[in-house]
Symmetry: C2
Subunit: 211 residues, 2 copies
């Protein structure tokens, strides 16, 4: 369903989402959507279901989100934001960039596995966002590249990492090597050896970064 | 549909496939299946459609393949076998293991893109085999690891690659770094930068292999 243009501004940073981002209603809708999706699954939930659960009209919800997918994207953004938040914390709290790289792979693998085992319906929404390339992925990939870049710059400054390779090429290549652990479809197919493989790939990347 | 046990032996190496593998009929069924899938898509084709196209009874086809998926697996195995065949040829014909690594990433990316652009219906079947983890993937992954192992052993013997890392760990880690280029879902989402990214990841792997 495509909503018509309404009186609210389109927020440039969150395509598909309308109205002032700080609006309490928006948070309320997202919380209710998260609960509903977790319980009934994303596919089976309609905007009408959500509206009923919150006690709002569907039209009112469409003032904040242009479609069900826009709600799904915001819910995924929150979920993946927790993941990148954990990575940022690792980078902040770990003195050694070598150690940061190791911990980042492990954190991606474990947080992905945790979502799969403990919050399957949310894992399914995140999977849909990867399969259908929802808008939330751009911010996620951007965040991930930013985190990698930060570790690489620090490692280069400290002399722990080589400096000859173009920084951007190294960042992109490293992000590719993380796919097995952050892409929900690959992660799901690799659960048996996840931690071991994450360590093996982190070690490979660290060998590639050695000065 | 699950076929009942019949008079033919189950071939141990091809689970789901029955009868003497060299049987001409088997080849004939696979050729017709390939054509049919390419034209109408895997999902829309039934074993009855295939039987009609070849002029055989469905029961006769079930003497060779236990299910439609078993036929799909054999068709995918042929398609992916061409890909690993091309990689084997690269390894045989390239003197330098460093060069082999570069060419392997490029070949994976290009053959995957070619399938997507020029043979979409076959790409879709291969995608289904990855999504649903069909039996053909085990042989493919085994082949791929074997090819990587061969290059690594040669590179270590020639002194082009480091020898400290466990060979098996290095092989598995390298295979993970290839996912972006051989996994059809990832490849499909990465078509814009495919060759450039394949080069970047190959370079990363080569830095990790440096003695």
């Amino acid at each position: 369903m495509v909503a018509t243009v309404n009186e609210f501004d389109q927020t440039a940073t969150n395509p598909g989402q309308r109205g002032p981002a700080e609006h309490q209603r928006r948070e309320q809708i997202l919380r209710a959507a998260g609960e509903h999706f977790r319980h009934y699954g994303y596919r089976k939930t309609t905007v009408a279901d959500l509206a009923k659960a919150i006690g709002l009209s569907p039209a009112y919800i469409y003032k904040f989100f242009v479609s069900k997918q826009a709600i799904g994207e915001a819910v995924c953004a929150l979920c993946l934001g927790e993941r990148t938040g954990a990575l940022r914390k690792i980078v902040e709290e770990t003195a050694s960039p070598v150690e940061s790289i190791r911990k980042i792979y492990k954190s991606l693998a474990l947080s992905g596995a945790r979502l799969f085992f403990e919050d399957r319906k949310m894992h399914d929404i995140v999977t849909a966002s990867f399969e259908e390339r929802w808008g939330n992925l751009e911010a996620y990939n951007h965040d991930l590249i930013g985190i990698i870049r930060r570790v690489l710059i620090r490692g280069r400054e400290l002399g722990e990492f080589e400096r000859k390779t173009s920084l951007e090429e190294a960042c992109r290549a490293i992000q590719h090597t993380m796919q097995s652990f952050f892409h929900p479809i690959l992660l799901e197919q690799n659960l048996d050896h996840l931690e071991e493989d994450a360590t093996a790939v982190a070690n490979l990347v660290l060998r590639s970064l050695a000065p």
